[in-house]
Amino acid sequence: MRIGRPRTTMDPMLWVSTTFAVLVGSRLLSLVIPSEYYFTFQSLFSDRPSQKMVLAVLGKMLAPFLVGLVAGYLLDRVTRQIDSIDRHATLARRLRQRWSPTVFLSGFFAAFISAWPMIVYWDLLANPESAHLKALFFVLYLVYMLAFGYVALLGLLTTIFISEQMRADTDGKDRKIVSAGELSRVGALWLLHSGIASVVLDAITK
């Protein structure tokens, strides 16, 4: 019998799929959404930053959120097909130990891959007006990457929360894997990270 904290593991298949899905989604959104409502990590430092920062950030975060939603839907569906004695416990264990950290890291690494060219070529491509703020911008990049992770996780938890709410009527059970409090906590962390990064960025690029 294992004693102690349950081990957190990664699901490689889920990680690869969600990371690339976020990248593909971001690319599609950048083609569809007008540039004033969407930012790329590169455009943060361009001479013409987005005029509507809040909407642009929301547009950018749409891809990881949608991918989280879809991943949550698929995982919930797959788990529902498991012929287990306690399907509920299986889902709760997998969500806590495996899927949540995997989806969070997928969002984080998708943002990291998106920002990587700019990080490497900062000295060459940065806007000369903000080139001397290299260290500060790298910290902001990191905060945005965390925000990406949280918003992807928010998508995953939202689907499972909604799924549970819809089934609560039919199941009549009161055990919840994702509580409203948990959902609010992740949402607040996402808002906090993206809010801090956006406000600081707005202040220093004015």
């Binding site: 690339f20 593909v24 004033e36 060459l124 000369p128």
Partner: protein
């Protein structure tokens, strides 16, 4: 069997078993599941496919979601009773003649912006600027902008070879070209790279008795090129004297940033004087391409010769304070030009070659 062959065979067996482990499912589960391998192939291909899709470019596209009153197209300009709305026109180049900028002012502006930015960063990193300005002209649609750079006086003094060539030949254009060329070379070969080159050259000479024909110093010039320049213009006596200098003396000159700048200016002046029918006097791209031995022109966004030309153009832009900007032209305060530590032991002014 020799040790090398045994090691080679072991590496080969290891690589073969590792690759086989990806695919072959024996009694043991495979190292990486085939589903994961499939995902690692399919997802990147899907991602690349979306990058192959060209972005839709429009001419005369009014800003999306702009309020009717803010639209640059004034319906009230039309005759009474008429309603005029500008339509977005797709920018499609002639078949087989597509270039990056064809009929797309926004794309052309983007290329200029990127080159300006790269050039400014390189010159600032080299320490060759005393001031830099970004000018935004919002009168046009789309708004246009440009950078105006002021070269540092010490660097200009260093790059002006008044005592090497007839004074009337020395122009600001040539000096600016030399500054741009050396700045790019310094950016690509930092002080550590250059120290490694010199160390290698000294070791090479210790082993073989002569320096290798490599490019050295901030300007990355070969000893053979300096001698070739000396032979080309015997009437420039001080330049011609380079031919008889020892390798050590020439190497010292190349390592000295001030001397290196002068040598590059002499190179540029020689090329300006050599312009033929296919070349235009003062064409920076041709000189820059000749300097690095680049034979083929490319249309890459960030390429050596266009960047050097852009840098020279920015240094020759009139400073915003020298002209009276129109009211809709925003001239922000000068950009921050950090003072980088001089990576070379070159003195700030004067030249031992004089």
């Amino acid at each position: 069997m020799s040790a090398v062959r045994r090691t080679g065979a072991w590496i080969w067996r290891l690589a073969r078993s590792s690759v086989a482990g990806l695919w072959v499912s024996g009694p043991e589960p495979p190292l990486v599941s085939p589903r994961l391998v499939g995902a690692l192939v399919v997802w990147p291909l899907l991602l690349f496919a979306f990058f192959v899709l060209p972005e839709v470019r429009y001419l005369n596209a009014p800003p999306l979601f702009a309020a009717a009153g803010q639209s640059p197209v004034k319906a009230e300009q039309a005759a009474a009773g008429q309603q005029v709305r500008q339509l977005a026109v797709l920018a499609v180049p002639m078949e087989g003649q597509a270039t990056q900028d064809d009929g797309d002012p926004a794309q052309s502006d983007y290329r200029i912006q990127i080159r300006n930015r790269v050039g400014t960063n390189i010159l600032a990193a080299a320490g060759y600027l005393s001031a830099a300005y970004y000018v935004l002209d919002q009168a046009g649609n789309p708004p246009s902008s440009y950078y105006a750079l002021r070269p540092d006086g010490k660097a200009v003094d260093c790059a002006s070879p008044y005592k090497l060539v007839p004074e009337d030949l020395v122009t600001d254009h040539a000096v600016n070209a030399a500054l741009a060329i050396v700045a790019v070379e310094k950016f690509n070969r930092n002080a550590v790279h250059r120290l490694a080159e010199i160390t290698y050259a000294k070791l090479f000479r210790a082993a073989f008795g002569k320096f290798p024909d490599l490019s050295f110093g901030p300007a990355q010039i070969r000893l053979s090129l300096v001698r070739k320049m000396a032979a080309e213009r015997p009437e420039w006596k001080k330049v011609a004297a380079w031919a008889s200098m020892s390798d050590d003396r020439l190497l010292d000159m190349l390592r000295d940033e001030c001397d290196a700048l002068k040598i590059v200016t002499v190179f540029v002046l020689q090329h300006f004087a050599r312009a033929d029918e296919s070349n235009v006097v003062g064409d920076i791209q041709t000189v820059a391409a000749a300097y690095v031995g680049q034979r083929r022109r490319t249309s890459a966004l960030i390429d050596y010769a266009p960047i050097v030309e852009t840098m020279v153009g920015m240094m020759e832009m009139p400073a915003p304070d020298a002209q009276s900007p129109p009211p809709d032209k925003q001239v922000p305060p000068p950009l921050v030009v950090p003072e980088p530590p001089r990576s070379d032991s070159a003195p700030a002014g004067g030249s031992p070659a004089q």
